[in-house]
């Protein structure tokens, strides 16, 4: 009865995610933290340990492929929305300080992650994975920022035009695009390992596809913006066509040897960037993707996360080291670079805290890494814990930072930080 099992799974996941996320909201945490935590609760770390029979009944191994497929569809739509909200103009330099801070917020965590890889590779990897793949993946995973969460926090507080807002949004945009490009390169390296020729073929194919999208398909999809401006809404056929383009783009990048999600992301990036249009499309898609399908992804990630694999003081030591390096690289790097460029201390610290938020984007990257076997199950669990900790710490740190005047405004900023949690969803 695979269908019944799937429906039961979706119902249980949805209920658990809403309840736990609601509890986390009461604690002042973004919903995404609650949903990440709910995923872990449903997995072997909690439900599997306390009630193994219930876990085996709810999530039999044979049924997980269906759950994964459904969650991947949700991720395709989500990545499209992430790309949609990303304005290429934000990637352009806003001056010296932004240029330096954005580059430093990538390179420092990246290099620290590679240095950490020197220590972790002989301990938590094996010879089926090359050091280059392992360290580049760790670098990409550590340097990512939850761009959608950050954008939502800033826009809801009308901080996008502030100096901190401008720098943060530009840095996050640069970080994410760079992170995804590096990840795409790693995927190409791993999947096309048979011969050097196939690597080049994939790279050239990807570049050709990106150019086709930017200079060809972009003109086509700009019609959506025009139709929306004329009528104030889109016809059903337009929605169907838009979804079709997203799916075809995702399939193209998968066929090229990278990943479904890159195509969906690129499709979002080339969409019209009129603010009203972006909000209109996001509102239509988010109920399906953010409310229904993304919790499945959180649950699927939780089912793959086994904290029991992090066993003994040695393993917990690695985990603590990963968390420390992640924070030092991202928060410290952004903070130091912005400070040296003359940003006031308070804003520099605020920027560091914001940039350290990894959220859902980190989980997406980690799942790709686990699928590709670049990271081992224990390392995956440690990195999930790192994502959870770095996302969880953002709100309390911001509260602490803005405790003094103007306290009310700052607290309001923290409290409203991405109520939807997944970043794309509106309040």
């Amino acid at each position: 009865m695979p269908l019944l099992t799937l429906v039961l799974q979706v119902a249980v996941i949805l209920a658990t995610c809403r309840v736990i996320a609601g509890l986390f909201r009461r604690m002042g945490q973004p919903r995404v933290v609650g949903e990440m935590f709910a995923g872990i609760l449903l997995g072997p770390s909690m439900l599997g340990a306390l009630a193994p029979r219930a876990e085996a009944f709810l999530f039999p191994a044979a049924s997980l492929s269906n759950l994964n497929a459904l969650s991947q569809i949700g991720l395709i739509v989500f990545m499209f929305l992430v790309g949609l909200e990303m304005n290429p103009n934000e990637l352009k330099s806003h001056g010296h300080s932004t240029l330096l801070t954005s580059h430093a917020s990538i390179t420092l965590p990246f290099v620290l992650a590679c240095l950490l890889s020197l220590y972790l590779y002989p301990r938590l990897s094996d010879r089926s994975v090359s050091f280059i793949s392992f360290s580049l993946f760790m670098g990409a995973a550590m340097s990512i920022t939850a761009f959608p969460v950050l954008a939502r926090i800033l826009s809801e507080r009308n901080m996008l035009q502030s100096r901190l807002g401008t720098v943060a949004i530009a840095c996050a945009a640069v970080d994410d695009v760079t992170g995804w490009c590096i990840l795409a390169y790693i995927v190409v390296l791993i999947r096309a390992r048979a011969s050097a020729a196939s690597v080049w073929l994939t790279l050239l194919g990807t570049i050709a596809f990106a150019l086709l999208m930017i200079y060809g398909v972009r003109r086509l999809v700009s019609r959506f913006g025009g139709l929306y401006r004329e009528r104030g809404e889109l016809h059903e056929n337009s929605w169907a066509f838009m979804l079709l383009l997203v799916l075809v783009s995702a399939l193209c990048t998968e066929w090229l040897g990278i990943h479904l999600l890159f195509g969906a992301f690129l499709m979002g990036v080339i969409m019209p960037k009129d603010e009203n249009f972006v909000r209109y499309v996001t509102d239509r898609f988010e109920i399906l993707s953010v409310v229904l399908l993304l919790p499945l992804f959180f649950a699927f990630t939780g089912l793959r996360t086994s904290i029991a694999l992090v066993k003994g003081p040695e393993m917990w030591g690695y985990c603590a080291l990963i968390i420390l390096v992640a924070i030092a690289g991202k928060m410290g790097g952004s903070m130091a670079a912005s400070r040296i460029m003359g940003l006031p201390l308070r804003e520099s610290v605020g920027l560091g805290i914001l940039m350290n938020t990894r959220g859902l984007m980190e989980l997406v990257i980690l799942n790709i890494g686990l699928d590709l076997k670049v990271i081992s199950p224990a390392l995956f669990s440690m990195m999930v814990l790192m994502a959870l900790v770095t996302t969880f710490m953002t709100t309390p740190l911001l509260r602490l930072m803005y405790r003094e005047s103007p306290a009310r405004a700052a607290l309001a900023e923290v409290d409203s930080a991405d109520p939807s949690g997944a970043g794309i969803s509106a309040a």
Binding site: V129, S133, A378
Partner: protein
Amino acid sequence: MSFTKGTRFIVGYFLFVALPVLGLVACLKYGHALKAPVSMDGLWGVRSSSMQPVQLHCLAEGAAAPKSSISISQSGKYLSLSMVSGPEIAATGTINERTITLSADASAIGLEGPGCEAYRRFNITATLGPGDRPQSLAGVLSADGCASCAPVSFAAVRLAHSGSGGRD
């Protein structure tokens, strides 16, 4: 002494971008020579065993019988072993060069039957075959707390890898 914004940018870019990139290149070059443990995760079939029925019954029927399969999950040098069919037997351990050592508490295994109380802890020591992805292993299974129990030798062959790795 005050610096202009341009000077700060150059100094900052050198410190926070150029130097780390150089460090990255050096790190990748140095790390290329590092060796990780051999890959052994996946499904293994126990092809031969000198285990006697009297020893077998304590491990529950068929658990470690010849031709049974074991699943090994690997996270670097850390291993966990479980039986694919039969009762749940989970052992954890490590790999050092080509030698693996695993152990499982008898309580965790859930031994049943008369005479089994002698077994407190099971240990597995095995040596892997050649290559970065060895296809065979041979070793012994011994029990702590049982002076009369002779170590049991066994051999296994790899049935399947758990998936493709990130080799390039």
